[in-house]
């Protein structure tokens, strides 16, 4: 059969039902506290139907839209990163034994299979980077690997970009191209479903779907093209590693020192940031301790602390570290930029610092 099938809007609930029947806990986007977040999903009505987001540097607002669409918005502050790289989790525990010894225990527990509906192209690209970081080194991460392997991903092609989106500049969107089981193209009347894996196809085959018409395919393509054309932010011509590393003493870093609050919002919302702190938490009787990993930000002075010295003591050092790593040295580490163009760092920066604008200044003197 053709891998593309059409699912009328009134039958969209059958996708959730089918995933549940296949044993998955279903997670999807929904409105909470004036923002779109991902959480457990049982009914289509929980989705952000007729909601759109207005984003700008330092600004995020949800608004009612004219349409009945579920995915007529761009990005929330978080999407799927917290489901694989958890914000706070125990890595292992230690216990003092009566004879003075110490025993160590793994804390890995079984995870349930999870199906996530509504994964965007930028977040799939970020997930692929995290897969590389957490699973393909000499020491694969057991916690990340287990959660990652339990995921069934249902992507959605973006048909609307926020003003802060620039995935066309990084080459990661708005069309979801790989790394998912199923992908949705949302039209006014329903969804084009396209399976990319055998288990994705199994789900589609269980549902009552229709053949896709040429007109529907054209509408989907036009929607993706429209989202691409809505984007106006660009990046300097890459690769950027050499440009940024050689701009290490650029005077522009000082202006960032003056504007940046060092709050770490950009690193918290960035889908590729992976820095961590490992801390030990002891029980009241001192007999047990949990070794906990939590998200860390390179904007925290403690991030670069060594025996009484803070290596990046100035905000300008920390901003330089973040931007140079994300857009520059990341290339050497991962074979690509660490930015997927989601624009979250621009939206959620309380003073509205726009990385694309900063990069334009920092890389300018090196442009031919």
């Amino acid at each position: 059969m053709n891998r593309q099938r059409f699912l009328p809007r009134e039958r969209f609930q059958s996708l959730i039902d089918q995933l549940k029947a296949a044993g998955y806990d279903v997670v999807g986007p929904q409105v909470r506290d004036h923002a779109i977040v991902f959480d457990a999903l049982t009914k289509v009505e929980q989705l952000p139907i007729g909601i759109t987001d207005e984003q700008a540097p330092g600004r995020y607002r949800l608004e009612k839209s004219e349409s009945r669409r579920c995915f007529d918005w761009a990005t929330g502050a978080q999407a799927i990163k917290p489901m694989t790289f958890v914000a706070r989790e125990t890595l292992w525990q230690s216990e003092r034994l009566p004879g003075g010894g110490i025993s160590f225990h793994d804390t890995l527990t079984e995870t349930r299979p999870v199906a996530i509906i509504g994964v965007r192209a930028c977040d799939l690209a970020a997930l692929s980077i995290h897969d590389h970081h957490f699973m393909r080194g000499a020491h694969p991460d057991p916690q990340y690997s287990q959660r990652r392997q339990s995921l069934f991903l249902i992507a959605v092609h973006c048909m609307r970009s926020a003003a802060t989106c620039f995935c066309t500049a990084t080459g990661d969107g708005p069309q979801a191209r790989s790394g998912y089981d199923l992908v949705l193209s949302e039209l006014d009347t329903g969804f084009i479903l396209e399976a990319h894996t055998g288990r994705g196809l199994d789900i589609v085959l269980q549902m009552e779907t229709e053949a896709v018409t040429a007109e529907q395919t054209e509408q989907a393509d036009a929607g993706i093209l429209r989202a691409a054309r809505q984007q106006h932010r660009t990046l300097p011509a890459g690769p950027l590693q050499e440009k940024l590393v050689s701009a290490v003493e650029h005077p522009h870093w000082q202006t960032l020192n003056d504007r940046c609050l060092s709050c770490g919002n950009c690193t918290a919302v960035c889908p590729t940031c992976f820095c961590q702190t490992h801390v030990d938490e002891i029980s009241l009787d001192g007999q047990q301790a949990s070794h906990v990993r939590q998200w860390e930000s390179c904007f925290n002075p403690d991030h670069s602390h060594i025996h009484g010295i803070v290596i990046r003591s100035e905000r300008s050092h920390r901003y330089r570290q973040w931007l140079t790593h994300k857009f520059g040295t990341w290339e050497e580490q991962f074979g690509r930029s660490g930015c997927v163009g989601c624009g979250r760092c621009i939206t959620w920066c309380p003073v509205g610092i726009d990385v694309t604008g900063e990069l334009a200044v920092l890389c300018k003197r090196n442009e031919p």
Binding site: I282, I311, Q333
Partner: protein, 277 residues
């Protein structure tokens, strides 16, 4: 799947107070199978753990060929190192390692060696010197230059006296400030470089210590035309995971914990000497 973050239990076999804030502990992994499989290369480090306190990265001082014990020399600076300093013989702690890329003992074969250390920077280089002197036929002349802030900080007198007795080994000692009985030099480690009779094209420089000192040595050795790829140093950054995951030790594109801690100048040149890099 093996948990790369989880330590093994180790036991304190011996301890020694070096100075008021420096101590050495000798450790052995309590599981005989794990201890027998434990091997390290000069310049690598371990993560030491105390329950409820956390972990610290510490370079390994002992002889890499001694498969029964693991020595660390540690300065008391924070809560973990201060409490490691309180451990007594028989006490238990956590240990995982070894981690990182150590000294280029194979690449440096056939060359003269200039080993420069500052302060407790000598700790990561002790196992290097022990190794080099045991395989002395593979190396040329060995210059050992150790600088300390104050003569009171100088430890391991016996070790340096022993090294001095080897043929083709010269030991140079200096302190920024010394008391009346300090028999060696006063001033920076670079003061000896004019007296070193080295052929830059067949010399390897290895150093460890404060970045300011290493910066001065790198500049001097590059001026003497020692190739960038033969100027090596051991770097320090914040290390939480030691396996390249936590991102805390990044220095430019490098993860100090897995790509280093030993680097040559060529590898770090773009980031070298920039404050906050």
């Amino acid at each position: 799947m093996n948990n790369p973050f989880m330590p093994h239990e180790a036991e304190v076999i011996a301890r020694h107070e070096e100075t008021a804030d420096l101590f050495s502990i000798q450790l052995r992994l309590t599981d005989p199978v794990i201890q027998s499989q434990y091997r390290f290369a000069p310049g690598q480090f371990n993560m030491l753990y105390l329950p409820g306190m956390g972990e610290v990265p510490v370079s390994i001082v002992s002889d890499p060929d001694d498969i029964h014990i693991i020595d660390h020399t540690i300065r008391k600076v924070g809560s973990v190192t201060n409490n490691l300093g309180r451990l007594q013989v028989g006490d238990r702690l956590g240990l995982r390692g070894p981690y990182g890329r150590g000294w280029p003992v194979v690449e440096a074969e056939g060359t003269d060696l200039v080993i420069v250390t500052g302060g407790l920077g000598c700790a990561p280089s002790v196992s290097l010197i022990d190794y080099v002197l045991r395989c002395q036929a593979r190396y040329g002349h060995v210059h050992i230059i150790q600088g300390v802030k104050h003569s009171n900080d100088f430890i391991w007198h016996a070790r340096y006296d022993l090294w001095r007795q080897y043929p083709n080994v010269e030991v140079w000692l200096t302190a920024d400030a010394g008391d009346a009985l300090w028999p060696w030099h006063i001033g920076p480690v670079t003061q000896f470089f004019d007296q070193l009779d080295i052929d830059p094209q067949r010399t390897s420089v290895m150093m460890c210590g404060p970045e300011g000192m290493m910066k001065a040595v790198v500049q001097d050795m590059r001026q003497r035309a020692v190739p960038d790829k033969r100027i090596w140093f051991s770097m320090e950054r914040n290390v939480q995971c030691a396996v390249g995951s936590c991102g805390r030790c990044q220095l430019g594109a490098k993860f100090v914990c897995k790509d280093g801690p030993v680097f040559n100048y060529d590898e770090l040149a773009p980031y070298w000497g920039h404050k906050g890099a």
